[in-house]
Symmetry: C2
Subunit: 194 residues, 2 copies
């Protein structure tokens, strides 16, 4: 039997995610993480090699989920509106299933060391570029308003990226309904159309 070791490691990572989300990577000590698990700090090293490894697993793991999701959307032959709707669904789904990891993804990525830092930055810029190309094509084909592409890109992306901060405390909205509402707000705006 040897499958056991991975369970404890996953426990360390998920517990660390929660703590990193609350206070940030730098403000959480190995002793904090250990205490949350009911063990001593030195015992963590039976499962992980360093504090940095925990951070890498958290960030790279969820970053790759966004990348693979985006690749699937880019390679479909749906129209622009449908692709944008799928991106919104992607973000809501990843957020709901990895809420704690998104804190580190957004705020602690700069504490990654090489080569993980460069790898993360590559994934992020590729993701943004895929998103940008979808918007550009949408404008060109007359599906989107002819507005500044960067403003459109980062307005939508900012909302999607910080969804993890506020979806949790809004019990009134379930995932399915959240997706519906966000598609309307992000794509059609909030001002009443005549």
């Amino acid at each position: 039997m040897k499958i056991k070791i991975e369970n404890r490691k996953e426990e360390i990572v998920t517990t660390s995610s929660k703590l990193f989300k609350e206070k940030g990577f730098s403000a959480v000590s190995m002793r904090d993480i250990a205490q949350s698990l009911g063990i001593k700090a030195a015992s963590l090293y039976n499962h992980i090699t360093s504090k940095q490894e925990i951070l890498s697993i958290i960030i790279i793991g969820v970053a790759e989920k966004f990348t693979s999701g985006m690749d699937r959307i880019v390679n479909s032959d749906d129209d622009t509106i449908s692709k944008l709707e799928q991106i919104i669904e992607l973000h809501v789904n990843v957020t709901v299933n990895n809420a704690d990891a998104l804190g580190s993804l957004n705020n602690d990525w700069m504490h990654l060391l090489e080569p993980e830092l460069s790898y993360f930055l590559k994934l992020r810029s590729q993701y943004e570029e895929s998103f940008r190309q979808i918007i550009k094509l949408g404008v060109k084909q007359g599906e989107l308003e002819p507005l500044n592409v960067e403003v459109m890109l980062f307005s939508v992306l900012s909302t999607l990226r910080t969804l993890y901060l506020w979806y949790a405390k809004k019990e009134g909205v379930d995932t399915k309904e959240l997706v519906v509402q966000m598609k309307k707000v992000l794509l059609r705006g909030i001002v009443l159309k005549p």
Copy 2:
């Protein structure tokens, strides 16, 4: 002559803002701040009482700018659309003039100590509540779409709050034009209207 002391203190605060924005409050040491100013860490204490004081000045200062701006908007008798446009202008102006401080406002507020922490949380929840009431009234009076108020609120607010992360590297857009573009994207959406 005694007005000199405030200059150095402001230098410490603005330099700290830049460093906190890059790596976060917890990852920046007093020695890091001192080195950026070309002095030794102990010398900082001729001007400030603690690292915490620096953080308080940064966060409370910019939080109060948002609060006073929002109060002015709430107390005007403009219609909903105009109020929302003024909120967008407020965020763009504060962001352009306090770009570095917004990093701490968004990511380091949890490292405030009492009583500043409670004060900050009060300002923030009051700001959100003012924003919420504007949206609610807009829906009631038929100026805004009858969508979920929380989704509308946090979608717009998320974009405005993280503007500091991306406006800087987009040289192609000046402030005036940025405001125009953001009003259109946030209020009218990106999908082409017939």
